[in-house]
């Protein structure tokens, strides 16, 4: 298309949002376009949305303003595309809102009060007069589709009529566009103190001007550029009366979406990170830890010790194996004792199955007590009480890890799925039956896993208990250290390592079977 072609005549259709020329006024804009001697536009105000849509779909019109919702429908069919969107005076975005208004001295104050009252909306193609109000009401369980949920449901011809119905007390509430409301107040049709806004919707993207996709590319480009720059030459008008300018819908769409963005890292994340680093920093300073010095000293001492430990001394393998076996036996019996003790206490300290609060608190206190007393201390006391040997080791491990196991069981029980419990309760099962058939089967895999973990842990701890005289390979370790026999120490450490490795392989094999 060249600019010399003056003959192109286009028809523009405008859907009814207002019956007032001032609040939906494209005449200055159209006159401005016609004055450019490029094309001629005839403007038609349609009496309803459907008429305007039909004109664009059938090709009788090439430019239009349809409101945002109706336009989306036919844009999806590829009939039209949006090219410009108006930004109201004094605003930065073309977005607006749907507002529910009531008479100032009405009893209605919330959206929920609308039920069984008189409501005015616009026709179903209107965004702020129907689609958005339907969604807002739907969110609180009121359905605009069901007229019987209101004492009367009136479809106003346009937003101005809906506003008038509220003022004349013909309806209790009307859902209208914030643009029409602001405009009515600005024009003095409505005194702001006569009405109250009972609900405001989230932002609605503004209503764009559209043209037919079949228009020649050059023409589309010319119309778009001219309208986007029109505010530099004239006072532009459109939906909402006087506008600041027209902007590209795509750009304004992105701006609209951006308004819903929020930072991925909230201030809490920052605050917690800083707090954590600060706390660690404080501990370093308080403990007078010198990080750099530590590393330089440590490396030289470490090499020295390791050098003296090699090669490991595996002489008397029978002694070594027997004392390791003794340690394993202590750990095994200790774990067994822990399981036996912790099963009832664990069940009683689970909030959801404990018979009452007193027992729950009592059971919790017992578990906390035995967790709090280290097995070392327990073993030392028991060695004094019952003498050297395996028994203090078994008892110390059993009671200390009982505290752990009971806590693990209780937590597993608290996290079982409540569905099966309800199902059994509903059949009239007693609490103990529910426990046996709905709770215990659910925790069996983690029950086995926890016990194996405690066995693993107890073997490691049992080696240490020997140091305080509670038998096993720890005693061997202690005496080797005392005699500065470091190659023996490394041999013992290796034996312990191989044992733990074996237990680990065994327990993962068992766990696999139980899952």
């Amino acid at each position: 298309m060249s600019t010399t072609e003056h003959t192109l005549t286009l028809r523009m259709v405008v859907a009814p949002a207002s019956n007032d020329e001032g609040s939906l006024n494209f005449s200055e804009l159209v006159a401005f376009l016609n004055n450019q001697d490029h094309l001629t536009i005839h403007m038609d105000h349609c009496s309803d949305y459907a008429e305007a849509i039909d004109a664009l779909e059938s090709g009788r019109a090439q430019i239009g303003w349809l409101g945002p919702y109706a336009y989306r429908g036919i844009e999806e069919k590829g009939v039209v595309e949006a090219f410009a969107i108006g930004v109201p005076e004094g605003r930065n975005s073309p977005n607006y809102r749907s507002v529910f208004i009531a008479h100032a001295n009405s009893q209605i104050n919330r959206l929920a009060d609308i039920k069984n009252k008189r409501l005015a909306v616009s026709d179903i193609h209107s965004t702020s007069g129907y689609a958005v109000p339907r969604r807002e009401l739907g969110d609180i369980g009121i359905h605009l589709e069901n007229a019987h949920e209101f004492s009367s449901l009136i479809t106003a011809h346009n937003h101005d009529e809906a506003i008038r119905l509220v003022i004349c007390d013909e309806v209790d509430v009307a859902a209208v566009s914030s643009i029409n409301l602001d405009d009515s107040i600005a024009r003095g049709v409505l005194e702001a103190q006569n009405i109250k806004v009972i609900h405001t919707s989230p932002d609605i993207p503004g209503a764009p001007l559209v043209f037919s996709t079949t228009l020649p590319k050059e023409t589309k480009k010319w119309i778009k550029t001219t309208i986007l720059n029109a505010h530099k030459s004239i006072k532009v008008g459109g939906y909402g009366g006087q506008l600041k300018k027209y902007v590209d819908p795509l750009e304004s769409r992105i701006q609209f979406l951006e308004s819903y963005l929020y930072p991925q890292w909230g201030w809490r994340t920052y605050a917690n990170t800083i707090l954590l680093i600060g706390l660690a920093w404080y501990c370093f300073i308080d403990l007078e830890i010198e990080v750099i010095g530590l590393f330089s000293d440590m490396s030289s001492y470490f090499m020295d010790v390791v050098g003296r430990m090699l090669p490991p001394d595996f002489s008397n393998p029978r002694d070594l194996a027997l004392s390791m076996l003794e340690t394993i036996e202590i750990a095994f019996l200790g774990t067994l004792l822990a399981i036996v003790l912790s099963t009832p206490i664990g069940i009683l300290s689970a909030r959801n199955v404990a018979p009452n609060k007193i027992i729950y608190i009592l059971a919790r206190t017992i578990t906390v007590f035995f967790r709090a007393v280290p097995e070392f201390i327990m073993a030392m006391i028991l060695v004094i009480a019952v003498g050297f040997g395996a028994i203090p080791g078994v008892l110390a491990l059993g009671f200390h890890t009982m505290g752990f196991l009971a806590k693990f069981y209780a937590e597993d029980i608290e996290h079982v799925k409540s569905g099966p419990i309800e199902a059994l309760q509903s059949t009239g099962a007693s609490p103990l039956q529910v426990l046996a058939f709905a709770v215990i089967p659910q925790i069996i895999p983690s029950f086995v896993g926890n016990n194996l973990y405690i066995l693993d842990r107890n073997i490691r701890m049992a080696t240490m208990l020997g140091i305080v005289g509670a038998g096993g390979i720890g005693y061997e370790l202690q005496s080797s250290f005392r005699m500065f026999h470091y190659p023996r120490v490394s041999a013992i450490v290796l034996v312990i390592f191989v044992t733990i490795l074996g237990i680990d392989l065994l327990s993962s094999a068992i766990r696999k079977r139980v899952q």
Binding site: E76, P202, L257, E258, Y260, L261, Y262, Q264, W265
Partner: protein, 268 residues
């Protein structure tokens, strides 16, 4: 033009000997809304999982958009396919927006993702998808605070985030009430129509299948027993999928049909 999806002589036998899919051949054109009907265990889910490469077929080939689905092409195939699940499979304690962004992880660098940082254009795209499913104002809300229907909408937003050519929906409405199920399927149909995305959907509700499908495929014991455009589907054909069960199962009121039924009631 070659069809979007070409499945030839597909077979899947599980390790325990179960024959899930038995010599299935099927072409799906771009923009079709295909509903797969079939009794439980008829291989519907296995078929969808094969298309996406989640399970490896024992025999036969699948070609999507002229790319052979195999372990080598998995990434480029999955880029073109969006998946929708029965139980939504959202990450409950992430916001809706972050859940949709998980659909775009393939376009974000790994390091940035590990810090939960996304490029702005990806976030805008995710918001666009949330708007498409009508949940823009729920962008910041944790997924587990949404209703079932809303969660499935977030699931759909996640599936369309990467502009797939094909959406596979595995019983997308099985855990939703009929009203919400209807609106979720309408949304899928709408996406199929407006964006030209092909949808293959497993559902159990025959009435929904008849309402939304362009084409119905019936599976029974891993075989295709019906493949017809919606206008050719009759009540009789639907019954054939379910192995010729009683006529009144889907249409008309339920009533005890045989004296045995009544005897059983007496016995109870």
């Amino acid at each position: 033009m070659a069809p979007l999806l070409q499945i030839s002589n597909l077979g899947k036998i599980y390790a325990d000997g179960t024959v899930a899919i038995n010599d299935v051949s099927l072409d799906v054109s771009a923009g079709e809304f295909v509903v797969i009907l079939g009794p439980s265990g008829s291989g519907k889910t296995s078929l969808l999982r094969c298309i996406n490469g989640l399970i490896k077929p024992t025999s036969g080939t699948i070609v999507l958009d002229e790319i052979l689905v195999n372990s080598k092409n998995l990434r480029s195939v999955r880029k073109r396919v969006g998946l929708i699940f029965q139980h939504f499979n959202l990450v409950g304690n992430l916001s809706s927006l972050n859940n949709v962004l998980t659909g775009l992880l393939g376009d974000n660098s790994t390091i940035a993702s590990l810090c939960f940082l996304f490029k702005k254009d990806l976030k805008i795209r995710a918001l666009e998808c949330l708007d498409r499913v009508g949940l823009l104002d729920k962008a910041r809300v944790r997924a587990d605070k949404l209703s079932g229907g809303q969660q499935q909408r977030v699931g759909i937003a996640r599936a369309i985030a990467r502009n797939p050519m094909l959406i596979l929906a595995d019983e997308p409405v099985a855990s939703l009430d009929p009203m919400i199920a209807y609106s979720v399927l309408s949304l899928l149909k709408n996406i199929c129509l407006s964006q030209g995305i092909t949808v293959i959907c497993n559902i159990h509700q025959v009435d929904f299948a008849l309402k939304f499908a362009d084409r119905i495929i019936g599976l029974s014991t891993g075989k295709i027993v019906l493949d017809a455009p919606i206008q050719d589907v009759t009540e009789q054909l639907i019954h054939s999928i379910y192995g010729g069960h009683e006529h009144g199962m889907f249409f008309g009121p339920a009533a005890s049909k045989s004296p045995e039924d009544n005897n059983m009631k007496m016995a109870v």
